[in-house]
């Protein structure tokens, strides 16, 4: 790569130091787009956004616009949103239903399965030259549907999505499954899109389990915006995790999360107390989930980041946020808010109101994150600042493998998950093969002393 600072010097995991260059330099930004976003599995959208044949939803992969589309036969596709002739976006509506994507520029048109159909004056201008079947919309070579969510990779050699997810699937399931434990069943009720002037990795790190940044949310914890706040409960969420063992978990593929392992005698913690009907619903869901999942119900999700840029909130709130890099110092965020599709209307209404007051640019919690990310980026651009690396030494070595849950697990707040993230990140930027990228055949990690 062309960066002045080689990646292996920029990321020094042995000493827990990472250069600010990877957060501000155009060279690193370019390298990420070329070597990471062209290979990793990326979150595209949700099948609930395209339920019928011909439905489409325009999404992004890295810096580029893509069309998520259900064709006339019902199959799901993801296409680059760019005409094969001169590159014009063939779709500039966010969502809708169509039988054709017609390019506004020269009117080439494509069917919903991506095939080039209409070429004006074909007989006169192109006969015997243009082979239509070779000029379909550019389609992702790898696509996966998982419990309603849609994922894609530009690398034909990428491993299957479930292998890429690895053990992180246990945590993602708790986000995507119904609150009563039935598999899948979520729907997207809305999407936030906004731009903030910070490097995308600050946001990803927040969701890798940066529980250490709690003090920045002091204001919202003081005033209380949780769904029991009107009953005098403080905090930004209900205290569902009170009795649990918090775990910070990393996986070889770069995924990391903060989840909670509840005690064997899993008990319902009162929540949504200012809405009796909703509280009754969630109490019921909790008991049903316990009955369905047994011991597995002990794992509750909090936050996580699926490598590289798909972050989630697991319960309060609940959704997936994708961090699309615009430039080294600018990110476009898209948050997809989730509810159980078959939840009663009253429950959905309480959830959406909580999501709006918690999340995104208008959210009382997340506003403070954006402030941090902006000024952390801004104050790292300078020549002097860049000489000094960020510190990632928290809880060095303080994790065990597969104890008490699968993965590399810390039971104290840790920067092991970002250290692991940047180890994998470096591997992508070094052009590593898939065995290295997802930790196939990885030697067992030594159990470090706590």
């Amino acid at each position: 790569m062309t960066t002045q600072l080689p990646i292996d010097q920029a990321i020094d995991l042995e000493h827990g130091m990472i250069s600010r260059e990877i957060f501000v330099s155009p060279e690193y930004h370019r390298a990420e787009l070329d070597k990471l976003f062209t290979r990793a599995w990326l979150f595209i959208g949700h099948e609930s956004q395209i339920p019928r044949p011909g439905d489409f939803y325009v999404s992004r992969m890295g810096e580029e616009s893509v069309i998520l589309c259900r064709d006339a036969q019902g199959a799901v596709h993801v296409f680059l949103n760019s005409c094969r002739h001169r590159g014009m976006k063939v779709c500039r509506y966010e969502q809708g239903n169509t039988s054709l994507f017609v390019c506004p520029y020269h009117s080439w048109s494509y069917t919903t399965d991506g095939k080039l159909q209409g070429v004006p004056l074909y007989r006169v201008l192109y006969e015997n030259t243009l082979k239509r079947e070779e000029w379909s919309l550019i389609e992702v070579p790898k696509l996966a549907l998982y419990k309603g969510t849609v994922w894609a990779s530009w690398d034909p050699l990428a491993p299957e999505f479930l292998e890429y997810l690895g053990g992180a699937v246990d945590h993602l399931d708790q986000v995507l499954d119904c609150r009563d434990g039935r598999p899948g069943g979520s729907e997207v009720i809305g999407v936030h899109k906004w731009i903030f002037p910070a490097n995308w990795k600050f946001a990803a790190e927040n969701f890798l389990g940066d529980t250490y940044h709690n003090p920045s949310h002091r204001s919202v914890d003081m005033i209380g915006i949780n769904p029991s706040a009107q009953r005098g409960v403080k905090g930004r969420r209900d205290n569902e995790y009170n009795r649990g063992q918090h775990v910070w978990v990393g996986f070889p593929q770069g995924h990391g999360m903060h989840s909670v392992l509840m005690p064997p005698d899993l008990q319902y913690e009162p929540s949504y107390q200012q809405y009796p009907v909703v509280e009754e619903y969630f109490r019921h869901c909790f008991e049903e989930r316990k009955r369905r999942l047994g011991d597995k119900a002990r794992l509750l999700p909090f936050v996580g980041n699926l490598f590289p840029n798909a972050s989630y909130h697991g319960r309060q709130p609940r959704g997936i946020c994708v961090w699309h890099p615009h430039s080294p110092t600018e990110t476009e965020a898209w948050r997809f808010f989730l509810v159980d599709a078959d939840a009663p209307a009253e429950v959905k209404d309480v959830l959406r109101r909580f999501y709006m007051r918690y999340s995104g640019p208008a959210g009382m919690t997340e506003q403070d994150d954006m402030e941090n990310w902006l000024y952390a980026t801004a104050a790292s651009k300078g020549t002097i600042a860049r000489r000094y690396p960020f510190n990632y030494q928290m809880s060095m070595g303080a994790y065990k493998t597969n104890d008490p849950v699968p993965g590399d697990v810390a039971t104290q707040i840790t920067e092991q998950t970002p250290r692991n993230f940047y180890r994998v990140y470096a591997s992508y930027l070094n052009g590593g093969d898939w065995d290295a990228l997802i930790g196939r055949n990885r030697a067992p990690v030594q159990v470090a002393a706590e």
Binding site: E94, I189, I195, S219
Partner: protein, 188 residues
Amino acid sequence: MSEVIERTPVRRGLAWFELKQEIEDFLYHEADLLDQRRFTEWLDLLTDDIVYFMPIRRNVKFGQHADRENTRQGEGISWFDEDKWTLGKRVEQILTGVHYAEEPLSRVTHMVSNVRLLDVQPSVEAPDEVTVGCRFLVYQNRVEYETHTFIGRLTDVLRRAGDSWQIARRELILEQNVLLAKNLSILF
């Protein structure tokens, strides 16, 4: 709400002009409270049952604007779909002094223009409820270099409260699709 069209014919007698002036003054007063950071006094201008709504705008095909351009109040996800309790929480949060997205406080100016009375009930002579439309231009500057300009259309339903008015419903149509500001940490 955004489709409220001025009721016709409105008889523009003296009472109408007096009322329009009174409503304009109310809106300018409200802007002063926000820009002078008198947030608690601002809350007093809102009815207890206020609906405060800012939809997300979407890029839709010609002909679908009425149905699909804006997210809807009471459904799904918008920028704001709030009640008085939540708005009170927003003020309370700023007043903690540790809401870092507004600490230090932004410098904000609310401009109000194109004020029009869209509906008056029961009559211009004895108005209890007024629907007023206007444009807003909100300038925010924070810390040193951060500036945002929020421009759009506002429709309010104002209710008579003694010798003044209270806002019973506010709809803010921001002319943006992807939000170009990192935060909506100021009050509109």
